[in-house]
């Protein structure tokens, strides 16, 4: 019995020790030379919209703050998925998105209403990824493929001519849904179905 007990104690002590070593290694990794790489990895998880809704000037500054213990629920564009990945990466508890910083929505893209644009270039200055094209007193336009949907150009526009429109991915052959989704595929209105077309029109 005493042998068994001692065995248990040894196993328990060993496992505690190894856990401690792992923890220590992680701390060392963070504090040591690998700090930069560590921030890069955190940054890799963030959605890179550069919207600043977290209160930092971009995704990387937020990543830096995260590495120093900032809350992980401040990124609305990333939403729950990013929070989950951050909680895995940083070994922190997963918490719901902080509504102070915004709510999760589908990806949006900025569109400039051309008729209303006065060419003030204020949105161009606001854009963090240089996705708006134009010159002073010329109509501006958004390069759709480069727009991150960060919302930063909407606020400075003096004539409020920028709309955020949900990004639409084109219908594609390979976009399958999982079984049990409400509708597997939504058909275009005009497609006559099997059976429908047989009634009436002679062929």
């Amino acid at each position: 019995m005493a042998q068994l007990l001692s065995l248990f104690i040894v196993v328990a002590v060993l496992s505690l020790l190894s856990l401690g070593i792992l923890r220590l290694a992680k701390l060392l990794k963070v504090d040591g030379k690998a700090q930069e790489q560590w921030i890069e990895r955190i940054n890799g998880v963030l959605p890179q919209t550069q919207c600043g809704q977290c209160g930092y000037s971009g995704c990387r500054p937020y990543a830096q703050a995260l590495s120093q213990g900032e809350a992980i629920n401040k990124c609305p564009p990333g939403g729950a998925a990013t929070i989950n990945r951050l909680s895995n990466l940083l070994a922190r508890e997963s918490v719901p998105l902080d509504p102070i910083h915004g709510v999760e929505s589908e990806r949006k893209i900025a569109y400039i209403r051309e008729a209303d644009c006065i060419g003030c270039t204020k949105c161009i200055q606001a854009c963090p990824v240089d996705a708006i094209l134009g010159a002073s007193k010329r109509m501006h336009t958004v390069i759709v493929s480069e727009c991150t949907g960060c919302d930063l150009c909407v606020e400075p526009c003096p004539v409020d001519c920028i709309d955020m429109i949900p990004a639409q991915s084109p219908a594609s052959i390979s976009q399958w849904r999982k079984p049990g989704s409400p509708t597997t595929i939504i058909w275009p209105q005009t497609a006559p179905s099997i059976g429908d077309a047989t009634k009436g029109q002679p062929r």
């Binding site: 002073s136 007193k137 004539v159 399958w176 999982k178 079984p179 179905s193 099997i194 047989t198």
Partner: protein, 564 residues
């Protein structure tokens, strides 16, 4: 019993067993179900009134039409083209319209199509006879590839990849083995088998052309041991040539390219690896036949042999013009077929595409049309019991039950690590699943999600790069501005009487693009000013309205709250 039959076939077809093969050990042996259609000779489908030719040939490869509405066309005339690759009119008539029509795809999308009203004469274009040449040896391999491209030949077996592109990329490598795939391992499909039974000599002629193009040392024709009549025809057709017929056991999916290469050459292709990289090139028998027709007879790809089967009609093999609406093919087999048909499948029962519309035209990859009387062929889904039957049959050596779990739970990284992207969607796991789980659909959905994730990741990386460039540019501007200011200060210190430059406003330092770019204004200053005033007023009114509405709805947006 099965093994006895196999043994007797093996003894009878000794010629095919000279080569050491490693046949597929996994996979399934569903009922073959081909004898009905093979009992009759290949029939020619009567000319349809309307032919619909989608301009989208392979995935997103879309051709440009070269004919206009109302133009008269002859059979074999080019009607659409892109980079030397053509679509031809399958019959003579007039171009009725060019519009979006349904075509065969699992998502039920529409594609731009050329619609031809046939005139019933089926007259060939005069250029056809000029192009025909008895001796392909007189032309260079590259000229032949060009001819194949002009004839619009795509792979007639599976995905429909343009044949000339495949051949062209193969010529960049040193090909030592040419494999002609006559396996046709899916149940119900008998188009290739019928083709070999009736036109084996022409097929072999096409194979010789391929051999000539690729300079392949070895040329193998792989065929399943259940196709007795086809093997006989093939063996007599290859006599005297260095083409070797290899007979493999009947097992699905042994006709899949990767699995076939493994069986014949004992080499496994990794995901995304091209067969050409290991010196192998695969072509389908029907493609070789099309190549024969294109080179020796000058005829472009305008028809193919298709099996029409299913419990709604009498099975048969037909030669059908591309662009024929499915409904015409069905009604040829059974007058009441359309009323009886509840579901329509293009391709075999294991990998085919279910159609939403009976007006979809037959295309080059339609090797089979299945018209079924029942709406759903599948039994209801039950829970996974992890029996592992799926893992026993998976030809890609995956663990389908684990992948199912990962895709059901949305554990994307686990699905990726488990090799989901290596799944060839053959459906063998689905076939044996005792719980009738639509595994392939789960995998397809999860693959789509993985693709979306990858796209998102690469987008994020791109944005990060742009953001960094943006920051770097701003920093540089700031630095130069500072530099200029300090230089100006130094200048002033040196020569205090010199005029002081004061055109450096803060705004300019931030973003010189907004600086006084005083180019000639199109509008006169007054008009512009009034326009701007009007716009500002509009914006103010709108903002006020918004605030009002938010106040009413009593649901302030967090952003607008911040503003206030």
């Amino acid at each position: 019993m099965n093994s006895l039959i196999r043994l007797s076939r093996r003894l009878r077809n000794q010629a095919g067993y000279t080569r050491k093969t490693r046949p597929l050990r996994r996979g399934i042996t569903p009922p073959i179900n081909k004898s009905d259609s093979l009992s009759k000779a290949i029939q020619k489908l009567p000319l349809a009134k309307e032919l619909v030719l989608p301009l989208r040939v392979y995935q997103s490869l879309t051709l440009e039409p070269v004919v206009k509405e109302g133009e008269a066309v002859l059979k074999g005339q080019v009607i659409a083209s892109l980079d030397g690759f053509n679509i031809h009119a399958p019959s003579s008539g007039t171009v009725a319209t060019i519009e979006d029509r349904p075509y065969a795809n699992p998502a039920g999308l529409y594609a731009p199509c050329i619609v031809i009203n046939t005139d019933g004469m089926d007259r060939w274009h005069p250029s056809i006879s000029d192009r025909a040449s008895e001796n392909f040896n007189e032309r260079s391999p590259y000229a032949l590839i060009e001819l194949i491209a002009e004839a619009g030949i795509t792979g007639l077996g599976g995905a429909g990849f343009p044949c000339h592109q495949k051949l062209h990329s193969a010529t960049q490598h040193n090909i030592d083995t040419l494999i002609i795939n006559a396996m046709e391992c899916e149940p119900s499909i008998a188009a290739d088998e019928a083709l070999l039974q009736e036109r084996a000599t022409q097929v072999v002629e096409g194979i010789k052309i391929l051999q000539y193009i690729l300079h392949a040392k070895t040329c193998l024709v792989a065929i399943e041991d259940s196709k007795d009549a086809a093997i006989k025809q093939l063996l007599s057709a290859v006599e005297g040539s260095d083409i070797e017929v290899v007979i493999l056991p009947t097992r699905y999916p042994s006709g899949s390219e990767q699995q076939l290469i493994k069986a014949l050459c004992d080499k496994e292709l990794a995901r995304g690896q091209l067969p050409a990289s290991i010196g192998v090139h695969c072509q389908n028998v029907a493609t070789s036949y099309a190549i024969f027709e294109a080179i020796c007879l000058g005829r472009p790809l305008v028809s193919r042999i298709t099996t029409i089967t299913g419990d709604a009609l009498a099975s048969c093999n037909v030669e059908v013009l591309l662009g024929t609406p499915v409904v015409d093919a069905l009604e040829f087999c059974d007058e009441n077929a359309l009323e009886k048909t509840k579901s329509l499948i293009f391709g075999g029962p294991l990998m085919g595409v279910e159609l939403a519309n009976e007006l979809c035209p037959v295309n080059a990859t339609t090797n089979c049309i299945i018209a079924s009387q029942s709406q759903t062929l599948l039994k209801p889904e039950q829970d996974c019991i992890r029996c592992g039957f799926c893992a026993q049959v998976c030809p890609a050596y995956l663990l389908p039950q684990q992948l199912l779990l990962a895709s059901q739970q949305g554990a994307h990284e686990q699905a990726r690590a488990g090799g989901l992207q290596d799944c060839i969607e053959c459906g063998a796991c689905n076939y044996v699943c005792p719980s009738h789980i639509p595994l392939v659909q789960y995998y397809r959905a999860e693959k789509a999600e993985l693709r979306n994730l990858d796209a998102m990741a690469s987008r994020a990386q791109h944005w990060q790069q742009r953001f960094e460039n943006h920051q770097a540019r701003l920093d540089k501007q700031k630095a130069t501005a500072l530099d200029r200011r300090s230089r100006a200060l130094r200048m002033r210190a040196k020569a205090p009487q010199a005029p002081i430059k004061t055109d450096l406003h803060d705004e300019q330092i931030k973003a010189p693009s907004s600086a006084t770019a005083e180019t000639s204004a199109v509008l006169s200053a007054d008009q512009a000013k009034s326009d701007i005033q009007a716009a500002l007023a509009r914006a103010r009114a709108k903002k006020a309205q918004q605030q009002q509405s938010t106040a009413i709805s009593d649901k302030p947006h967090p952003k607008s709250e911040e503003k206030e």
